[in-house]
């Protein structure tokens, strides 16, 4: 549409008249019109852009055709220009719409930016607060971790100490077990040695009993013999007394007779009796005196023998009494043996009990073992208390860590959500910014195109607007750059927060693991506590802190039971005394030959003394007999001419036989021996190498077998050997 009132034209510099070439027509293209242009001195109110071609046309001095042509050309150009203007107007409208839109968008973006800035500021503030909180929590968790690490280090040291103590205890227990084994082996050896000694002592006791019985029987036999002897000696003593009395009476008579004879002698001396008769009388009297003196000596000997016999009787009585006492004490010996057996059974029972108790080798070890067990109980109770305290501490720590864990988890979740939100916003902002920047670029290019087009078309109004748009966009660019920088920083902060959240997650996981381990330890400690409580509920106690008291007057015990209790207590004391005595006996049982009781040992000593005296007597008798028999043998040898050797033998049927070996003093060699056997009153010659010779056998036949006279044989043999000797 053609504007009637044209827009005032801008001042233009003086330029030479432009040469407008009319559009070439078909016929007139060869002709070129030189259009003269007036100088630009017209009224500005008149200056109209669309009238320039008209002014030009006004100045055309061409013909009507030229005018028409120019008019047509002008109209064409006008229409084109109008079209262009329309286009430009439409474009301008579009641009203005776009600008309005862009402005609106800019406003919205600005609002959004301000909102985003506010949100950013708020997010920053929140992030800062979160950051501070997280730092605080991290510091707290650091401190807690440090404390827990310290406590875990302490617990580890305690655990190591306890492990060392446990190892030490195990080693000491192993050493104690080894010692106990050694002690048990020693005890076994000792018990074996004790049993051997017991057996030996029992054997000795049996032997001693046998010996004592034998000695007793011997003594009884001796006593009987002595009694017989005593009786016979008493009879002899009586006879001797009678003889003594007779002799004394005779002595007194003789003495009286002597005195009379002496008187007579004195009187006779006056009467001159023949010396021969007096000598004979004196001799007779002297002989009688000698006889009487010998009889007196014999009487004195008999008297001393009688005294000896009385002593022997007294000793016999003493031995009888001793025998009676020994016989009385024999049943006591049986009782003592029974008691010994009972004590031995008790000892074995005690030993079995001691063997059942581990770590105990003797009676004294029981107390030590009990004290050791009590100490162990005390230590276990102490450990229980420590474990309880530790458990409580661990429970408290566990609760705290769980609470902290829950807090950190919630905070981490919140921080995550916030970070996600911020990220989404940042992304949105980025997207928006990118969109805005793209639009800006598009607008820039459009504006540049428009500018260029406006410059070409000479449109100044829209270019100013575009310039304003461009300037405003230019003004916004640093702001946008600032926003981009803030976004970048925000991204960095977000990445840092993510890293921190990851680290917190890791810490949370480790804390969760620690919590689980603490829970496991808690369960273990609870089970230990349950076990220890069950032990305490069982009734165990530590003797260091506790003692068990019981009321004496219980109601279930009646009088009979009290009496039985008293009797049992007295019996217990007696058995304890017996046990002590047995232990003393065992300690003293190194010497052999002693009896259980001291009285029995004295009895044995007395019997031994008696045996020694009897043996001495026997030896004395033997020496006397040997002397006598040697004298007798020598006498027999000299009287009868034969050396006689007597020895006792036993026949095959067990009958004792006495063999006499006779060797003549006139024998030529040692082989000339005669052997005789004397059996129950009968004497028989025994054949040997000497008697089997012809000469001797002949004599044996004649004297022994035919004449049944051994003395003739021996006499004949003696004469023949004497003759042979003398002749040789």
């Amino acid at each position: 549409m053609m504007i009637r009132t044209p827009v005032p034209k801008r001042a233009r510099p003086i330029e030479p008249a432009p040469i407008i070439e009319s559009p070439p027509t078909g016929s007139d293209h060869h002709r070129q019109l030189a259009i003269y242009e007036d100088p630009p001195s017209a009224d500005p109110a008149r200056r109209e852009p669309y009238h320039e071609p008209l002014q030009q046309s006004e100045h055309m001095l061409c013909t009507y055709q030229c005018r028409q042509m120019v008019k047509a050309d002008f109209l064409d150009a006008l229409s084109n220009a109008e079209k262009q203007v329309q286009d430009y107007q439409s474009q301008l409208a579009e641009l203005s719409d776009n600008f309005r839109k862009a402005d609106e968008e800019r406003k919205t973006f600005r609002e959004k930016l301000s909102y985003a800035e506010q949100e950013l500021a708020a997010a920053k503030g929140r992030e800062q607060a979160l950051h501070d909180q997280l730092l605080k929590e991290v510091n707290d968790s650091h401190e807690r971790l440090k404390k827990e690490l310290e406590s875990s280090a302490k617990l580890q040291t305690k655990l190591e100490n306890e492990q060392n103590l446990h190892k030490k205890a195990e080693s000491t227990a192993a050493a104690a077990e080894d010692k106990s084994r050694e002690l048990e082996a020693k005890l076994g050896h000792i018990s074996q040695s004790i049993e051997k000694e017991k057996k030996r002592l029992n054997n000795e006791l049996v032997h001693l009993k046998r010996d004592s019985k034998f000695s007793i029987s011997k003594i009884t036999v001796d006593l009987e013999k002595m009694e017989f002897r005593a009786q016979s000696s008493e009879k002899e003593v009586e006879l001797l007394r009678k003889q003594q009395e007779d002799l004394q009476s005779k002595f007194s008579e003789c003495f009286h007779h002597k005195s009379e004879l002496e008187k007579k002698l004195t009187s006779l001396s006056f009467e001159d009796v023949s010396p021969k008769e007096s000598d004979i009388l004196v001799k007779h009297l002297q002989e009688e005196l000698r006889n009487y003196e010998s009889e007196v000596r014999e009487a004195r000997k008999l008297k001393s023998a009688h005294e000896n016999i009385e002593l022997i009787n007294e000793k016999l009585l003493e031995e009888k009494s001793r025998r009676e006492r020994a016989e009385l004490q024999l049943p006591k010996l049986h009782e003592y043996e029974l008691k010994i057996n009972e004590l031995e059974d008790e000892l074995s029972a005690w030993k079995l009990m001691i063997q059942e108790i581990p770590g105990v080798s003797c009676r004294d070890d029981i107390r030590l073992r009990i004290s050791a067990l009590q100490k162990e109980v005390i230590d276990n109770l102490k450990k229980l208390g420590d474990v309880n305290a530790h458990l409580k501490q661990m429970e408290v720590i566990l609760d705290k860590t769980q609470l902290d864990k829950q807090k950190t988890e919630t905070e981490a979740v919140l921080a995550k959500e916030k970070a996600d939100r911020l990220e989404a916003e940042v992304k949105r902002m980025n997207v928006m910014l990118s969109a805005v920047s793209e639009e800006r670029n598009v607008l820039k290019t459009a504006i540049e195109d428009f500018k260029s087009k406006n410059e070409q078309a000479g449109g100044n109004a829209s270019s100013s607007i575009m310039q304003e748009l461009g300037s405003s966009i230019l003004e916004r660019e640093p702001y946008i750059k600032e926003l981009e920088g803030d976004l970048f920083a925000q991204k960095e902060i977000n990445t840092r927060q993510r890293d921190e959240i990851k680290s917190l997650h890791d810490r949370l996981n480790s804390e969760a693991r620690r919590v689980k381990s603490l829970e496991r330890e808690n369960d273990r400690l609870r089970s230990e506590i349950f076990l220890l409580e069950s032990k305490i509920g069982h009734g165990d106690f530590s003797a260091a802190n506790t003692k068990v008291l019981r009321m004496v007057n219980t109601l279930a015990v009646g009088n009979d039971a009290k009496q039985t209790i008293e009797a049992l207590q007295s019996e217990l004391q007696r058995t304890k005394e017996k046990l002590q005595a047995l232990e003393e006996y065992k300690s003293q049982s190194g010497n052999s030959g002693k009896m259980v009781d001291s009285y029995m040992s004295g009895k044995v000593a007395q019997l031994k003394e008696q045996i020694a005296t009897l043996e001495k007597r026997e030896e004395r008798y033997k020496t006397v007999f040997a002397d006598r028999i040697s004298v007798f043998r020598r006498a027999c040898c000299e009287l009868f001419g034969y050396k006689i050797v007597m020895d006792e033998r036993q026949h095959t049927n067990g009958i004792p036989v006495t063999r006499f070996t006779l060797q003549s003093i006139y024998a030529m060699n040692d082989n000339e021996k005669l052997e005789f056997e004397y059996e129950s009153g009968n004497t028989n010659i025994v054949e040997n190498s000497y008697t089997s010779t012809s000469e001797i056998s002949q004599q044996v036949d004649i004297f022994v077998r035919k004449m049944n006279s051994i003395p003739a044989f021996t006499a004949n043999l003696t004469v023949e050997s004497f003759n042979r000797r003398t002749l040789s």
């Binding site: 069982h538 009734g539 106690f541 003797a543 802190n545 506790t546 008291l549 019981r550 109601l555 279930a556």
Partner: protein, 211 residues
Amino acid sequence: MASKTAAKDIITLRGSAAIVSEFFGYAANSILYNRGVYPEESFGKVKKYGLPLLLTKDEGVKSFIANLNAQLSEWLEAGKLQRVVLVIMSMNTGEVLERWNFSIETDNEVVEKGVSREKSDKEIMREIQAIMRQIASSITYLPCLDEQCVFDVLAYTDTDVAVPFTWMESSDAKLIANPQMVKLHSFDTKIHKVNTLVSYKNDEEELDDEE
């Protein structure tokens, strides 16, 4: 008895010791009745702790428990008593069949400084009542005592306690080998806390042996 102020809440050491020793007397009577240690006709009914309880009429048992309570009260006031155990044994064999274990935790601060504590008497009575009910209901799970039984009382005290004339130190704590244990309720006077536990001979092993 507990010193009764207008609020009836203050508990002194003497009062607490009296409450605990009295409780033990009634608990011992209840155990002797429920476990059949003495015949039923030798018990008479009384009301205590809001429950009908049975007390022995046997003079010997009565005097025994009275002497026991007096001594326990003295030890509780001195803070020397750690545990009281009522042991039920077979008369013929002397085997320990049950152990009623009353362990006592004493607040040493009260014993040393003579301070008092606060707790409602009703609350204490309610706690004791619960224990008495549990003692009465224990016959449902405790094994039957078919043979004639006797009882004995052991006191676990501190080692520095002087042994009274009618008591003697015992090395035998009359324990049960491999017992079954049942923990009952406890009551607390804020000065003395009494925990109750019954351990009895495991009857299942005997049944397995019989089978």
